[in-house]
Symmetry: C2
Subunit: 412 residues, 2 copies
């Protein structure tokens, strides 16, 4: 019999209870023993819910009960989650969490404390919701040098970009829709500005390098500037816009970036639509592998948390020794990363503007789109980000060009 | 230091040596110790290859060397692989294999023997080549009841079907091409008749049910009847033809099937082209997750084998207790499975034939294709396989119909 305690009876917490109940037989067979929810910590009471019997408002009840083997942290945020998790580990309890903020901010320290106490700190649900990705990297991709990780890691923005494309809508319209459906928060910044995806790629990059990649160091750009006009051109090119979180690892050099990108239809990430997430990983022996599924949602996320509970119970007193160290991983500036960009310009004189583009970027292939007057789009040559940006500044000052309407990196 | 022995220095065996050499540092860090290839068993000698120093022609050298911890079986076939593997396990050595034939035929017995001897029998590379799938099912999808597994599990046939579609070619033309490129054997039956995919879905279905699903019980149909005319209609419908290996698990009832199917473009499996494989798995909490990558090839397959070697070394004297029992899983007849079929018919009188289709299948929606005279296609209503087949027999006897040119199940 394994006793567990759940911190937080919100969406994920109640999902964990539901998964444990619905699939009790299979889960207990996998854990090789019965699992009992001994406590649920929440500030609230739930008088009409059977969970009320095990509700506590005092974390010390859990901390000081030596029969609790596994603490499940599904509160979110870092305060008090960090203090609670740290003290649980120090008391010799394993911790399973869905909290990307906690893992991205304090992961290496918590893994060290877990190791010192011969318990485990597991966080499968912190990236990609229900998609198995943390354990596959730790337990399956062990014979490969990981060269690249590129993910669609935020379901809300992927839903919004898919809807803009499918229904020919502007950003603001799909934002309201996503807010009404409960996919986006009233303050949507964490999703639309890329902060959520940034924390997740920081976790994956830390796993790949086995050092701490700080999310503060990752260049992050959201989707707020993407317009239906951009998408119209890009669809015509045979592509779509996705918010990609990327990390590349080559010859000891590492860089990471979160930004919208043009993904052409031959790339498997192009078919990842709506709230789905996917992580494409390139190994030096394996080539490309991709993991696809629901990146959020109560039950998929809870399913991943419960798989960690099973893993923790099966590895009582065995630290799995997986994760990354507290040593900081320096990142290369993305100014030095090679890119090509899709660029939309407004012109006052088309022929002159074409000549300007040819002069600055060496291409005379332009795309026009019926109904979009006084503008065209093109794809730049490949050069370092900083050079491309310099050239874009040069282009703005050309006589034929009025303005640069948008520029979006091309993927791959 | 962990000593290993490799049985067979063919494509996968030499790949294993290459992966271990190329990624030595990372692999040994993951295994927490150096790994030494102490023997390679092969009938041949390799005088100009450094491997010659450790070549043996006598399996007893390996079996009787107590310092060999892990035996890597990459010979293929069941004889002598079965005897070799069994005796290695009995001697207390873990075994890692890429041999789907061996796993599908003797998996449960070998897992039992491994358990009795407190070692491991691991087979990540037996399904999906380099794609992590066995360990994710065993270690990540532990909180879900698996409801369905559908895979594109054979790279050769997927390459052939993709090429037929992309280049508007007939089956025989792409077969010759696949044979020239080395993707298909001189005798291509194992691939094109679906036998290879059948063994792989038997393994996945056994993992899901935790009982033995015998591949002999699985209805298996290959791709040899697929024509470029079929593909032309199906492309126009917004779909493609894939050889799907399917297993469904509901209320204790299990069925499995390998057959070509029409996959519509909204299904994530539709974008799996060329030699790529993918496995779509549906969990009752998780929803759909998909694993995608290279299903064959020297280095991807070897990468999966080496990840098993790492796992075996890290679990010395700890049986991971995963797999399935020797108890047989009965399968429901696919006659009772609900299907819809895409059907192409040749007619002598179009209006009469349309009336016949309407009478038998209740649909008057037909598709015609420019250049294909005296024929049309339609999609049947949904009914049990046996009923649909009865109706097809009824249709053949209708006055307006000359013959049924082909019928292909619709996926989903």
């Amino acid at each position: 019999m394994a006793n567990i305690a759940i911190l937080g009876y919100g969406t994920v917490g109640s999902g964990v209870v539901e998964v444990l109940k619905t699939n009790k037989k299979r889960i207990e067979a996998k854990a090789c023993q019965p699992i009992e929810i001994k406590y649920v910590l929440d500030l609230r009471d739930f008088p009409n819910d059977p969970i009320q019997n095990v509700i506590t408002h005092n974390y010390d009840d859990i901390l000081n009960d030596p029969s609790v083997e596994v603490v499940v942290e599904v509160m979110g945020g870092t305060n008090p989650a960090y203090t609670f998790v740290k003290s649980a580990l120090q008391k010799g309890k394993s911790v399973c969490t869905s909290n990307k903020e906690l893992v991205a901010s304090y992961g290496s320290e918590l893994m060290r404390i877990a190791k010192e106490n011969n318990v485990n700190f597991l966080y499968e649900a912190s990236v990609g919701g229900g998609i198995p990705i943390i354990r596959p990297i730790n337990r399956s991709i062990t014979s490969d040098r990981i060269e690249e990780i590129t993910g669609i890691l935020n379901g809300t923005t992927n839903y919004m970009l898919s809807k803009m494309s499918d229904e020919d809508l502007e950003y603001n319209d799909v934002l309201s829709d996503a807010q009404e459906k409960g996919y986006a928060e009233r303050n949507p910044d964490a999703d639309v500005e890329g902060y959520d995806a940034c924390r997740k790629i920081a976790i994956l990059a830390s796993l790949a390098t086995e050092k701490t990649v700080s999310y503060d160091d990752i260049y992050t750009e959201g989707i707020t500037s993407i317009s239906k006009a951009d998408i119209a051109y890009i669809k015509k090119m045979g592509g779509s816009v996705k918010l990609l979180a990327t990390a590349k690892f080559n010859d000891g050099k590492v860089w990471a970036r979160v930004a919208p990108a043009v993904v052409l239809n031959e790339n498997p990430l192009s078919m990842v639509n709506d709230v789905f997430n996917a992580i494409l990983l390139k190994g030096n022996m394996l080539g490309d592998v991709m993991f696809y599924g629901k990146g959020a949602g109560k039950l998929p996320t809870a399913s991943a948390v419960v798989s960690d509970i099973v893993e923790a119970i099966r590895h009582k007193d065995i630290n799995l020794g997986i994760g990354w160290s507290e040593q900081k991983q320096e990142l290369m500036s993305i100014d030095d990363v090679l890119v090509r960009k899709f660029v939309r310009v407004e012109y006052n004189n088309k022929e002159e503007a074409k000549a300007d583009v040819l002069k600055v970027f060496g291409t005379d292939e332009i795309m026009e789109f019926f109904g979009l007057e006084n503008e065209f789009a093109f794809v730049t040559c490949e050069a370092k980000e900083a050079e491309i940006n310099d050239k874009l500044n040069e282009l703005i000052n050309c006589k034929g060009i009025v303005s640069i309407l948008n520029s979006i990196r091309m993927e791959g």
